[in-house]
């Protein structure tokens, strides 16, 4: 086993290991790789590294070429064609050869029906034996953590069972799948460091949205204009690293402003699409109303639903969202958007003011 210990400088810190999806999975490595992977210096004996991926548990399918049985466990040597590794397979109670004479005596008072616990237990024991007791040449599937004991690497089997593979379908499928897994997961370099290289365009937008949402909630804002919230987003723009450092001074001012306005515009658009805010009147003056704080809207919607629920047409089935929308727009001349209305309906339903009869249908409570 030419396995070496990991270089402490290169090893990623243990805090970040959980970020690697393969760490939590039973890694399907070739036995050759399991035997050769480098041992961690932070947790020696339990954690290993393959291509910078932290590994502690593995999944192997191979032929039994060595067997040792003791009272408590089996030790199978498993060969998958690339290497041979020992697997420590603990027996459960059913497998241990304990003939209990007292049990066999009681069987006569068993249930009269088809179910005889003693014979069932015997069958279970036989099934367990068939699954766990293997001979040389049989196919074994083992999953478990890798441990180094007495300079030898072993798999402590958490799960093991005999695989019935009369036409080698399982083995062939395994062999075909392994290179794919390697290319997609294990041989791909691991990026454990979170990118410190500044915000990407997407994340600054979501940050802007969250900032505005928090502001609206905290101050219980009912209505606002864009310039009211513009300054909130200033820190996002200034924290972005400028690309052209040479001509930063004269250009920074205008491009910074433009970036800010652009970001604001995008954020407000997203908030509108979500229904958090809406514009009653489409005019030059951009006034945004916050849906959650708009009492008029809530009252209007409630009235519409209550009145229409009395009509026979809607009594049973309920009013469809679009019907409510057109009614609210007509009667209260509130140019509310569908997304905003849906938010209102949700909050009314949470308050038990209305009931949803079907998908998208509501009636008054």
């Amino acid at each position: 086993m030419q396995a070496a210990a990991m270089d402490p400088a290169e090893e990623p810190p243990s805090m970040l290991w959980g970020l690697d999806p393969t760490f939590s999975a039973f890694a399907r490595l070739y036995v050759r790789d399991i035997l050769q992977m480098t041992e961690s210096t932070q947790v020696p004996g339990s954690i290993y590294f393959y291509n910078m991926h932290p590994i502690y548990k593995v999944d192997v399918l191979g032929t039994v070429v060595y067997k040792r049985e003791r009272e408590d466990f089996f030790c199978y040597g498993v060969d998958d064609g690339t290497g041979v590794i020992n697997c420590m397979c603990w027996k459960n109670d059913l497998l241990k050869e304990r003939e209990d004479p007292s049990k066999t005596g009681k069987h006569s008072d068993g249930a009269q029906g088809g179910f005889n616990p003693v014979t069932e237990l015997k069958k279970l024991k036989e099934a367990q034996q068939k699954r766990c007791r293997l001979e040389i040449g049989e196919l074994l599937r083992v999953r478990g953590p890798v441990k180094t004991s007495r300079q030898q690497r072993e798999i402590m089997a958490s799960t093991y069972y005999k695989v019935d593979d009369p036409v080698m379908a399982e083995q062939i499928a395994w062999m075909m799948e392994a290179p794919q897994l390697y290319r997609q997961c294990y041989d791909k370099p691991l990026q454990l460091q979170t990118s410190v290289s500044g915000d990407s365009a997407i994340s600054s937008l979501s940050k802007a949205i969250n900032i505005i949402k928090d502001f609206l909630k905290q101050k219980s804002v009912t209505r606002f204009r864009p310039y009211d919230v513009q300054d909130l987003l200033q820190p996002l723009i200034s924290s972005q690293p400028q690309t052209a450092s040479a001509d930063q001074e004269p250009v920074a001012g205008s491009s910074g402003c433009q970036q800010l306005r652009q970001l604001l515009k995008e954020a407000l658009q997203v908030l509108q699409d979500e229904g958090v805010v809406y514009r009653r009147v489409k005019s030059q003056d951009e006034v945004y109303l916050v849906t959650a704080e708009d009492k008029d809207l809530q009252i209007a919607v409630k009235d519409v639903i209550r009145e229409d629920s009395k009509r026979e047409k809607y009594a049973e089935k309920g009013c469809h969202v679009l019907h409510i929308l057109s009614a609210v727009r007509q009667r209260s001349s509130l140019n509310v958007s569908k997304a905003a209305l849906e938010l209102v309906l949700k909050s009314l339903e949470c308050n038990s003011d209305i009931i949803s009869t079907m998908e998208n249908h509501y009636i008054a409570f």
């Binding site: 032929t63 030790c75 064609g81 041979v84 036409v167 392994a178």
Partner: protein, 181 residues
């Protein structure tokens, strides 16, 4: 499908009584001295296991070619064409490039097994150069796998090999720039 009877643990170990720290080589004359499975047993106190080496998949025509090292562990396949129980010898055959390739298998350690002439078998064992016969495989495992998709198996073996060579090349490439400055 009838599975051949499994040999008892560690093929024939029952025949070899072992005590303490002594290494036993069986006194069967046909076995070569280097035969890996003379299973060096240590006493229970040490519990050190001597595992056989990994049996890598090879094609029957590669096994026969004479390019394989004596004592190397291999895994190969073929159709059982004949079996001579008195000499413990079975012959597996495979078709490749419109030629029949034969692999002779010494079945001493996997007997008794139920020979199904014409059925596909997988053999796992060590290469041995026998004076009279030529290349022989000393079988540790002989499984009947009749019904196996041979073409798919060959594809899987080739796929695995090309993956390993590809990986080796990549590793050489990443190692080289460090040297070539």
């Amino acid at each position: 499908m009838v599975y051949p009877r499994r040999p008892l643990s560690n093929a024939g170990a029952e025949r070899w009584r072992m005590t303490g720290h002594v290494t036993y080589t069986p006194e069967v004359p046909s076995l070569p001295q280097h035969f890996k499975l003379h299973c060096i047993y240590f006493s229970n106190r040490f519990n050190v296991t001597m595992l056989p080496s990994a049996a890598v998949f090879h094609f029957p025509w590669e096994v026969n070619s004479g390019n394989m090292q004596e004592g190397e562990s291999v895994r190969t396949f073929g159709r059982l064409v004949c079996y001579q129980p008195e000499e413990s010898r079975a012959t597996l055959s495979a078709q490749h490039a419109s030629k029949e390739h034969h692999v002779v298998v010494h079945t001493l350690f996997v007997e008794p097994f139920n020979p199904i002439i014409g059925a596909q078998y997988i053999v796992l064992g060590e290469i041995e150069n026998n004076m009279g016969v030529g290349v022989m495989v000393q079988a540790r495992v002989l499984n009947c796998v009749d019904g196996v998709n041979i073409a798919l198996l060959q594809k899987a073996i080739s796929e695995q090999r090309s993956f390993f060579t590809e990986r080796e090349c990549k590793r050489c490439e990443t190692a080289q720039p460090a040297d070539a400055t």
